[in-house]
């Protein structure tokens, strides 16, 4: 009766594949609608640098064969789909012999590590602040002081990032300002490496947490206030339950439901990295990779990052859809 049926699971999986396919197709079509030929553009760039390129005609042809651009459009399309589903994202144009999947695989752990922790922290802290502000029995002092912690929300993350670097990296010199780990340390599961990673991650994570927790707090506060007027809250008080129980099981438990959906979406977006924060801290994650792709006109790289982003959001929404009936019993997939 309650929970997830097999039919629903199949339907939902089909939707997941369709979403990714639609994203891939759009990514295939849009660059091809733009005028010009990427290989010709590349060769002309080379010739502009070198003054003159011998046998540029043959070169263009060779490159087009190499990238498979000589095949008919539909062949290119199916090749592209097949490669994408096997996670073959092609060669980077700017770093030619390197493949995009290699670059993505190298950047992904940094972004996932940094931003997953930062997002979860921001969610937890923001929700806690919002819940306390929106809860009438909270002591007045706390309710007056807590909103102060949200002032960072009005500062854009790049400004806050620069500010943090200025204060903590150049001013107090307590934390490093760039990279993911110190140069002298080699990546291994050792204390030196782990502590270096934590040190390097602190400032970028702080920039993300401080600027985004206000949104969670404000949303949560609004839900708590709406929720406080519900009859079950009055009844919970009438039952003489401990305030903590009313707060958690009757207040927060209901007010948090819409926030969980929003969390799933922002977890999905994490896969694409945070361009501005990663750029400011030269953090070698997905956002920095995307930035590099854009400045170098590295189309395969951009496509690769966007592909990962699409997959991330689709998978996150898929997972939250499966989890939701357990969070909110009113949601069932009986009739799929």
């Amino acid at each position: 009766m309650r929970g997830i049926t097999k039919g629903y699971l199949i339907k939902r999986l089909t939707m997941l594949v369709l979403t990714v396919w639609l994203g891939l197709t759009l990514m295939f079509i849009i660059p091809r609608l733009a005028p010009g030929d990427p290989v010709a553009a590349m060769v002309s760039r080379l010739s502009a640098q070198a003054g003159r390129v011998e046998q540029s005609e043959q070169m263009i042809q060779a490159w087009q064969e190499r990238f498979g651009l000589d095949a008919p459009m539909y062949v290119q399309y199916f090749r592209y789909l097949g490669n994408s589903f096997r996670f073959r994202l092609g060669y980077s144009m700017a770093y030619f012999p390197t493949t995009v999947e290699e670059m993505v695989m190298r950047a992904m752990p940094w972004t996932l590590g940094l931003l997953t922790i930062a997002t979860l922290m921001s969610f937890t802290v923001g929700i806690a602040i919002g819940a306390l502000i929106g809860w009438r029995p909270t002591p007045r002092v706390v309710r007056t002081l807590l909103p102060v912690s949200l002032c960072f929300t009005s500062i854009p993350p790049f400004m806050l990032g620069i500010l943090l670097i200025y204060v903590f990296a150049f001013g107090f010199r307590v934390l490093p300002f760039a990279g993911a780990y110190a140069r002298g340390v080699s990546p291994a599961f050792s204390w030196a490496f782990v502590s270096s990673v934590i040190q390097h991650g602190t400032l970028p994570a702080a920039a993300v947490v401080l600027t985004s927790m206000g949104h969670w707090a404000l949303g949560m506060r609004a839900m708590m206030i709406t929720n406080a007027g519900e009859d079950y809250m009055v009844l919970a008080q009438a039952k003489g339950l401990r305030p903590g129980r009313v707060f958690w099981m009757y207040g927060v438990r209901n007010a948090i439901l819409p926030q969980v959906t929003a969390l799933a979406l922002s977890i999905g977006v994490i896969a694409g990295g945070s361009i501005i924060v990663e750029y400011i801290f030269t953090y070698p994650g997905m956002g920095y990779l995307l930035y590099q792709g854009i400045v170098n006109n590295d189309y395969p790289l951009i496509q690769g990052v966007v592909f990962v982003l699409i997959c991330g959001v689709a998978v996150a929404v898929f997972i939250i859809d499966l989890l939701y009936p357990f969070i909110d019993p009113r949601i069932t997939y009986e009739r799929g």
Partner: protein
């Protein structure tokens, strides 16, 4: 309906006054309300919307939401003045001594908790549950008492109908066998068939458990069926209080008379009388009797002097300068 002169009062409300601080001069939503509820008795509290009956009930539970506050008076339940309890003692006192059957059953249960858990919550907060098995048995017993199958405990509120939810609330209210239950319009927003089921479960808990009840509502038919005594409220004041049969046969207050006359009857074909005017604006009450502007029998003194509630017969009290004296029929 039986003789209650010897019964002890489980609840004494004295001069209960509730202010809503919405402007410089507070709105008086309940004005010097006093009444007793005797052991095992059901007292009806009737009146139009906005007359202060729900406000009185919430004040008795100390559950008024701001800007409402109790400005004076006392509520003694089982010998304890609930207005003087400190928060922790108040928490202990609630549900064990005074329980609530809320107005909007649709929303009165937490949507993310199973029925079982919500009943268990109320029990575990105040008593030793005696282990999981005993608790489960007790919950099943409570649900069956209000005519629900014991399996209902495994369900979530959205899986129940409105009437079932309301009966769950009834079961929850009697879980600790409190001396007093306040039922705030327990049958409003339900269709008549379901109303009947809920009314039956109220009668059953009253008869089998002997719990005293304050039943709030505006349905005079339901009042006639369920209550032993009725208090009629108007503009935050009690206008008349009398045993139900006497009140219906020979109301003293012109307002009570109007309330009774406005109930259509199937058996006796009479023109439906709708009375002009609405409930008074509490921010701007007329001097003297608040009912005077709508009263067909008003005389000069009614405009100048607010009548006090006084005995006008055995066990019958009315706040009126010109009470109905045509009492030949009793």
């Amino acid at each position: 309906m039986s003789n209650r002169t010897t019964a002890a009062a489980v609840c004494e409300v004295r001069n209960l006054t509730v202010h809503y601080d919405v402007s410089a001069t507070p709105v008086v939503a309940a004005n010097e309300v006093s009444f007793d509820v005797y052991e095992g008795e059901t007292l009806g509290l009737v009146g139009e919307s906005g007359c202060g009956k729900s406000t009185t009930a919430m004040a008795m539970l100390r559950l008024l939401q701001t800007p409402g506050r109790v400005a004076g008076g006392s509520v003694n339940i089982a010998g304890v003045d609930i207005m003087r309890l400190r928060p922790a003692a108040l928490r202990d006192f609630r549900w064990r001594n005074i329980a609530l059957i809320p107005q909007g059953a649709m929303n009165a249960l937490n949507p993310v908790m199973r029925i079982e858990k919500q009943l268990a919550d109320a029990i575990a907060a105040h008593a030793d549950t005696g282990g999981r098995q005993a608790l489960r048995a007790r919950i099943g017993e409570l649900l069956e008492m209000v005519g629900l199958p014991a399996d209902v405990r495994r369900l979530y509120p959205h899986e129940l109908s409105g009437g079932m939810k309301q009966r769950v609330c009834v079961a929850m209210a009697v879980a600790l066998n409190p001396p007093l239950v306040i039922a705030d319009e327990p049958t409003s927003a339900l269709d008549v068939v379901v109303q009947r089921l809920v009314a039956q479960s109220l009668i059953r808990i009253k008869e089998t458990l002997g719990i005293a009840m304050v039943l709030i509502g505006h349905d005079m038919g339901l009042m006639a069926q369920l209550t032993d005594r009725v208090a009629v409220m108007y503009a935050g004041r009690i206008m008349e209080i009398a045993p139900t049969d006497i009140l219906f046969k020979a109301p003293l207050h012109p307002y009570t008379q109007q309330l009774i006359d406005s109930v259509p009857s199937i058996r006796v074909k009479k023109p439906l009388r709708v009375f002009p005017g609405g409930p008074p604006d509490l921010r701007n009450l007329p001097p003297g009797c608040p009912f005077e502007p709508r009263c067909p029998k008003a005389i000069t003194i009614c405009r100048g002097e607010t009548p006090a509630l006084k005995a006008c017969g055995e066990k019958q009290y009315a706040a009126c300068h010109v009470p109905n004296t045509n009492r030949n029929n009793i």
